[in-house]
């Protein structure tokens, strides 16, 4: 299968890339990992007139923490780069848990985190993870840089808030208030499938008290769901079985799953509650007994 005809450029600076996007006037797409874009172009769901390949721009493949704890993922950081980073489990446990369950190993060598976020597939894993973590996208355009909260970045299926002449150059997670813990669990029928249910949990804590929390749900609604009430309930609490149980129930209630070939709505709701419970109970912070 061939995509329809397009012109191609592979700039070597961010400024050049932005200029190409600006001159294309909204008819260009950015090519990073291409693991969603290329299949969509081959199936002719997407027919951009131009591709701006950013793979030759040096300095975008990073993933690292600033001294203040802000965690940055550059536009060319591949899923595999995160999967192979042994330190990530302690630094960013939710991201570390998600990276190995994105698509399949071959896709992970090419696909990028920022590209996935921009692709804005309603059933994508990273949007839940980054929403739970309170992450943002940094967009650079002709008039400079701006940050957009991941929870607001997607404004429709396969649509995001980027202007046509803006390039998403990184995603970042703000520093934690206290210690960071969390996880991501994904139920999939087979490797490479979309999530039947995916649950991202991020917990920040000081002593045994939760200072900040986020819960993102994948695959159980028309798009990513932020289970805000469930997350807020945890703040100021210790993670005892009763609190965990109530958070799991609230997350399950806010999910809007549909019955399909991956399972019934009731089953998916059950899995949401189970995954929230499983992740929270696995954290070091969790206590065995109700307070």
């Amino acid at each position: 299968m061939y995509p329809s005809r397009f012109s191609y450029d592979a700039p070597t600076t961010v400024a050049e890339a932005i200029d190409l996007l600006r001159r294309a006037g909204g008819e260009a797409k950015v090519l990073a990992g291409g693991q969603s874009l290329v299949p969509m172009m081959k199936l002719r769901f997407a027919s951009p007139e131009m591709l701006v390949d950013i793979n030759n721009i040096p300095g975008l493949a990073y993933h690292s923490a600033d001294p203040d704890g802000t965690y940055r993922i550059g536009a060319l950081c591949r899923h595999e780069d995160l999967e192979k980073d042994a330190e990530l489990v302690t630094q960013q446990p939710t991201i570390a848990a998600a990276a190995p369950v994105i698509a399949d190993p071959i896709v992970r060598t090419r696909g990028t985190v920022v590209g996935s976020l921009c692709h804005a597939d309603p059933q994508g894993d990273w949007a839940s993870v980054m929403s739970a973590l309170g992450g943002s996208i940094v967009a650079e355009g002709p008039s400079g840089r701006r940050s957009i909260q991941c929870a607001e970045f997607v404004n429709g299926p396969f649509q995001n808030l980027l202007e046509f002449d803006e390039l998403a150059i990184e995603a970042f997670v703000p520093p934690p208030v206290g210690a960071r813990s969390g996880g991501y669990l994904k139920l999939e029928r087979r490797i490479g499938d979309f999530a039947t249910v995916g649950v991202a949990v991020s917990v920040e804590s000081s002593g045994d008290q939760v200072t900040r929390a986020g819960i993102g749900l994948t695959g159980v609604g028309p798009s990513t769901i932020c289970a805000e009430a469930a997350a807020e309930l945890l703040v100021g609490q210790d993670l005892n079985p009763e609190t965990i149980h109530r958070a799991a129930e609230l997350a399950s209630e806010i999910s809007q799953p549909r019955s399909d070939h991956r399972g019934s709505a009731a089953y998916k709701r059950h899995v949401v509650a189970t995954f929230v419970t499983r992740i929270l109970s696995s954290l070091e912070l969790a206590t065995r007994e109700a307070a």
Binding site: F6, Y8, K42, A103, P105, T109, R110
Partner: protein, 182 residues
């Protein structure tokens, strides 16, 4: 029969964007003029005649078209040829030397790691990338590393055995090499 590569070239008119690329495939450098929409899979199959790379699903699911791109496994149906400009590609034809098979190929031969053989090139290249990074993988690690490659004969059992044997073969080879030099 007209190849897809030629179809793309024949259709080309004055305003067709053509890019020149230089790519090293199995150690040989090639410079070609291609349309940006030519896929890497079609570059190696049609333009270079290396038909060992199989196109299976053509939708980024099956992994049959896996090649090594700068040593990493990629689905060559999901990359454009122009993206390989200045890079190194290894296809299944690049595994064996003139005189002997690669230990991966020996493993697949000895353990009967194939039935119809369609998925085999992709399986072997994913396995090659795994063993380059991890010369002594567990069975679980092999299954994990090959989870992007589908075998519809479901010969997975023997494929995993083949990779285990290849790993042992490679380690023996290295030990023998060390003995010779010591």
């Amino acid at each position: 029969m007209t190849s897809l590569f030629e179809v793309v070239s024949e259709e080309a008119s004055a305003d067709t964007p053509i890019r020149r690329l230089t790519v090293t495939v199995n150690g040989n450098q090639h410079t070609l003029d291609v349309e940006p929409r030519l896929l890497l899979a079609h570059l190696v199959r049609q333009a270079l005649g290396l038909t060992g790379t199989h196109v299976g699903c053509d939708t980024t699911n099956c992994g049959a078209c896996t090649v090594l791109f700068d040593g990493s496994p990629v689905k060559s149906c999901t990359m454009f040829a122009v993206q390989a400009d200045g890079h190194e590609v290894t296809t299944v034809e690049g595994l064996a030397s003139a005189s002997e098979l690669d230990p991966i190929q020996e493993g697949f031969k000895d353990e009967h790691g194939l039935q119809c053989g369609f998925c085999t090139p992709g399986m072997m290249l994913s396995a090659k990338a795994l063993l380059n990074e991890n010369p002594d993988p567990t069975e679980d690690e092999i299954r994990w590393a090959l989870s992007g490659n589908l075998c519809r004969c479901t010969g997975y059992q023997n494929i995993v055995k083949a990779v285990l044997r290849a790993a042992a073969g490679l380690r023996n080879q290295e030990d023998a090499g060390e003995d010779e030099t010591s």
